[in-house]
Amino acid sequence: MSDAPGIVWLASFPKSGNTWFRIFLANLAAGRDEPADINDLDERGGIASSRHEFEAATLLDSGLISHADIDRLRPRIYERIAAETKAQRWIKVHDAYTLTEAGEPLLGRGAARSAIYLVRDPRDVAVSLAHHNTTTIDAAIALMNRPDGALCRGRRGQPPQLRQQLLGWSGHVASWLGQTDVPAHLMRYEDMRADPHRAFAAALGFAERPASAEDIARAIRHADFAELQRQERERGFTERTSRTTPFFRAGEVGGWRRELTGEQVAALERAHAPMMARLGYELSEVAEAAA
């Protein structure tokens, strides 16, 4: 049995386990006895917001046209990839699921066969995001709480990727779980950590990517955090943005209890309580006391 061909979106708010899962996929595809090099992943389908891909396809310098106009061209790029790809291509995407000004899905209509949507407790996301962006935790929370939040929006320089609308943490989740264009499978980071085999096997099944239990187990071992940290320590990691903080930190679940102040927890929970409840993230006593 072979993979069902086409694009599979690997969608998430940043710092929700997307890269870990992609490294697992790369190891699964490589099927070798040693872990794949995290800086040379075969399974790298890229990121939907790649500026390089956009410029290569449109011939245009993305810095010279508006974000909205870039967005109007983006659906065509994915439709083209979908038409040309004969294999299964997993593409990472941090954009919220939005429509362009022309009223069509940013990610194209009918371009993808399915999506895996990864979600993580927003309180842990805040800690991880602050480390990743080398900002304060308050700045990370502000980005998560802004309904018009975006990545790479600045136009004083050339950001590494195209502008990605996030719509805030709740808005991001709601946009992906609410859309009906692409069949989506929800995968919680906490479930990935607790029982990776079960979580990953379910995602692969949804995407019609066949794999034996043995292969899945080996790929999980090769994508173990200790292994990723070892490789990053020795050779660095191409997707690292901070000069000081490693990309692969603890990957911890619940670390926010130690790292966030009561006020920070309350700020997140006030903004996201309904979506947290929907996803099974319990509100803390701090927020309940404050309420």
């Binding site: 390089h52 011939l59 508006s66 065509r76 136009r155 004083r156 590494p160």
Partner: protein, 312 residues
Amino acid sequence: MAEGEGEPPVHSYRISGLAVASQLELLGAIDAPANDDAPDITVRLQAAPQTLAGGVAGGPNWEIEGERVLLRVPRVGRFLIEGGRHIGVELEPGATPRDASIFVLGVSFGILLHQRGAMALHGAAVARDGRALAICGASGDGKSTLSTALCRAGFEFVADDICAVSLGDDGRPLVWPDGRQLKLWREAIDQLGVAQSQGAAVRGGIEKYFIGAPAAAIAAPRLTAIYVLNDVRPPRAEAIEPLNLPDAMRALDLQAYRPAIRARIASKPHNLAQSAAVLRHARAFRFDRPRGFEHMDRLVEALAAHWEALGR
């Protein structure tokens, strides 16, 4: 009939070594006195088709049919690039010739150079004593920033975006000026402290500006080295290393201006022969360096010293 059609071109430039007669004012281009010789290239405001009959889509906003390429730029217009000789522009309602200028000088000219079978590298070039070095790399890698810093360290500005390379009578490669000014983002202008050299915005509403260089080349200096920028990552240290011939050939292919359309226009054997001819006299290197303005002085010094040591 579109605005300006039938009227004679009023602006005269020299771009990438070619005589250009244009109805549009092209910001940042090198003015050249008009003479009676027929120009190599004409640029006109004209009606452009919505689509090319018999054309094949090459990307979401462009199509190609024989020697004609039709490029759509959102909210600016349609650009018809024909036979390596002519660029026709139909502006969208609300767009001005000023909006179109940078898309004529950049992408349209890049396509036109490919149609002419010329070598067009996506990169910047600076020169000293009649010899030039080119800096290639992905968009956003800091080619313009590094070349601005080199110009402040005494190099002449040659090209900022498109390096047109041709072979001289002696078979040695020459690189042609693509304009008289660099183009820098606001962030780089502030970090390099070159606000006093800042000119007009490259396009209205965009925080990218023309920057006057202390000295700009008018003639074509000899291209002696091509440096391809890479991010430095452990365990690789900051270094300039020569590329062997196969890697250098591959690098020139990858660093061509918009390889996707070049592949549709120029044949592989033609491109290979061209790269081989250039590499007979110019050497190619990979330059692994950290990002960040704080490294700029050191990088300029390292690059200048490396290039000088290559000699003539």
